[in-house]
């Protein structure tokens, strides 16, 4: 080959790289593990230093959830045909297009909306983009967001909105956690492009005034953006039905292992209206006929954005995101079906309610802190125990239990509080074990 190319060595192929910039000598990297066995042993040896949530009993949530991952989900997303495909045409990669179209379609059913994107990076990006879409659509530059979102999400939104969008937070009722409607009415104006809240909230409770919030937004010409966990939509009304214009969130609960946070993927959904569709920075796959009647073809949807009046609010970008997780979520929803989504929703609400009731019985513990319906997570307060959450969690750790996320630093107004998450992987015994352990620790 070298001969054909007309050189003696590969060195000559770098003729455009100046001598000055050439690395002298070798890079100082670890010795390679040349045999597959050695490599595997090395990496597994390091991984062995981890203790996973499968080995411990975990009540952690806060954006990454321990739900059961059906075996068929793993089977499908491990197939090399899906795993190693990328960006072929709708001919040679027809399967990928169809799988993602079906994912979007199933999400559309859950959300009662007709347009769902090919996944973006994660729920944070989905919400940040949704807010910018709202700004582009309305031509306004101020967004109002419920204060009860996580500090991490707020950090992402602030950075992403930096160019010229103002982010304002709307307070909540300390008893219920619910968005303070009076505070919202006071803050909203004709400069507001979007009113945004999560349902369920980061703090686990359900926002029960969604229809009023969206009404207030619409009365002022603002767009209502709701962050919703899709696993809740078997039992909860989809936000579109109470006035949400853009719905977004993370699909990790739908068939992705937690992977230390590596299973995240974001969705954005809207009505099928041209001006909304034109604002998506993500890919949108549409269905199309072929030259043979009855064949399903697919392709990218891209409407001309001719009206530029509000487009100067800045474009976004599209890149490699999380398509494989989208396909997986499609498989998950097909396996679960309507009945499965109803059952899991009820199950999550029941189990977390049970945990709240049992934990509340513990001396010094208050659960839930917010007097509202909850979905899968709740805030528990430990002020009465005289112990910090850190101390309690350390003690739980010795009992091989991961306690809820410590909220003390993030939300000091909640005192010594933690965010507990209960899913369908927790049996009654598991919850009882937690409660027993907590009892011991606080005594």
């Amino acid at each position: 080959m070298l001969e054909e190319v007309g050189t003696q060595s590969a060195e000559d192929l770098y003729e455009d790289v100046p001598e000055r910039l050439r690395l002298k000598g070798s890079m100082n990297l670890p010795q390679p593990l040349l045999s597959e066995y050695e490599l595997k042993r090395h990496v597994e040896g390091i991984l062995a230093k981890n203790e996973s949530a499968a080995e411990y009993l975990s009540f952690l949530g806060a954006g990454c959830y321990q739900h059961h991952v059906p075996a068929v989900c793993d089977e499908v997303n491990r197939r090399g045909e899906f795993l190693t495909a990328y960006a072929g045409e709708p001919y040679d990669d027809h399967g990928r297009f169809q799988a993602l179209f079906e994912y979007a379609s199933s999400m559309g059913e859950l959300l009662n909306m007709d347009v769902v994107n090919v996944p973006t990076y994660d729920g944070f990006q989905a919400m940040a983009t949704s807010l910018r879409m709202a700004c582009r659509l309305t031509g306004r530059r101020e967004v109002l967001i419920a204060r009860t979102i996580s500090a991490d999400l707020l950090s992402r939104i602030r950075d992403y909105c930096k160019p010229n969008i103002t982010v304002k937070l709307v307070g909540y009722d300390p008893k219920t956690g619910q968005l303070d409607l009076d505070a919202l009415k006071a803050k909203i104006s004709d400069r507001t492009s979007a009113v945004c809240f999560e349902n369920p909230s980061y703090l686990g409770f359900l926002e029960v005034h969604g229809h009023e919030i969206s009404q207030i937004a619409h009365d002022h010409g603002a767009i209502c953006v709701v962050g919703a966990d899709p696993i809740s939509l078997g039992v909860l009304t989809p936000p579109a039905d109470y006035g949400a214009d853009i719905v977004c969130g993370d699909i990790q609960p739908l068939g992705m292992h937690m992977q230390f946070g590596g299973g995240q993927a974001g969705y954005i959904a809207t009505r099928d209206e041209e001006e909304y569709v034109a604002e998506y920075p993500s890919r949108l796959f549409g269905i199309a006929p072929t030259s043979v009647p009855g064949e399903y073809g697919f392709g990218d949807v891209a409407y001309e954005r001719t009206s530029f009046a509000v487009r100067e609010e800045g474009k976004e970008w599209v890149g490699t995101a999380a398509a494989l997780w989208g396909i997986t979520a499609g498989v998950y929803l097909a396996l679960m079906g309507p009945q499965g989504m109803v059952e899991i929703g009820e199950g999550l609400m029941s189990r977390s309610r049970y945990a709240m009731l049992e934990m509340d019985k513990i001396e010094g513990v208050k659960a839930p802190v917010f007097r509202s319906p909850h979905f899968r997570e709740f805030v528990a307060n430990f002020d009465g125990t005289g112990k910090t959450v850190a101390e309690i969690n350390k003690a739980l750790l010795t009992r091989k239990i991961f306690g809820g996320k410590d909220l003390t630093m993030e939300l000091p107004e909640l005192g010594k509080s933690a965010l507990y998450c209960v899913t369908e992987v927790h049996t009654q015994d598991d919850i009882d074990r937690l409660v027993t352990a907590l009892k011991e620790i606080v005594d």
Binding site: P281, R283, G299, D300, E304, T306, V310, G319
Partner: protein
Amino acid sequence: MVMDKKLGLIVNPIAGIGGRVGLKGSDGAEVQRKALKLGAVRQSLNRAIRALERIEPVDDLEIVTYPGEMGEDAARACGFAPTVIGSIIPGGTTREDTISAAREMLELGVDLLLFAGGDGTARDIYNATGERMVVLGIPAGVKIHSAVHAINPVSAGNLAGSYLQGRTSALREAEVMDVDEEAFRQGFVSAKLYGCLRVPFQRRWLQGRKAPSSPGEQAAMVAIAADVVSRMADDWLYVIGPGTTTRAITARLGLDKTLVGVDVIRAERREGKEAWLGELAAADVNESQLLALLGGRKAKIVVTPIGGQGYIFGRGNQQISPDVLATVGKDNVIVVSTSAKIHSLGGRPLLVDTGDRAVDSMLSGYTNVVSGYNERIVYKVSYC
């Protein structure tokens, strides 16, 4: 495919007749006689046939055309039974025939006018119908500077068929150029913008892959206009050169612009969403009017490359003379262009030819081209 469409067909039998025998262009009876004497063969018929055979002769597609060599022959050769209108003197057709044909087809409401011809034919059609019809050119001429034509007869036929079948509906504004034939025969090109025709364009299937498709030409022009307008100041005059991109700027200000002339405008800032309102200070000015208006005033000149060769000065905007440019200064020249237009230059620089070497030199080097909202391309400007 449901059609029920009318396709207008005009073949200019003398288009391109001069080329093969070394004569540039074919306007003028004298040139035509010379060409025929030199053994020139009429190519436009063949070209028209090559295009038409791409279109299926189905029942609900009606071809409307002129007799004999102006279209009927080509249509029949491809198996169509055309509706023949008008009358001609065979072997002696003129520009007037083209113009009449186009006008009649406009009256009949054809969905698409397909013509075989060059710049001259395009100009005649523009004269006849303005921008009221959708038109597509089958290239059959020596010098095609207009953007109304497909790249070859086969493409023209494909695109026409696609448009008639409703498989493509996008339209773009294509420049019709006016080339001085005599000058051309003497060996130099002098083209200027003559008008604009609406032409179908095939949006290629979007290989969406890793990035969304670029905005269409329309969206790009609106973005450029938004950028330029947002930076306008109340106390400046703006000299707006010919072109569709510059026209988008005045359109954004609510003004009508002469497509091929140079207009001078002012902009006023208002409160609210559409924050600027335009005012026409003078339309279609010549050099002395321009100098009079600009005397002592702060002014900017906004130009866009015209035609395929990338001239920003010296082709069709000679009113913006060396004196005007010297008065305004290089720093106050704003060049606008869509990135597609820049790409069509194929790496060649933008060109200036004001007639004054010193001014040409001043304008050369690199210029910041406004190519979108908050988007610039730094591109080379040259003179030769």
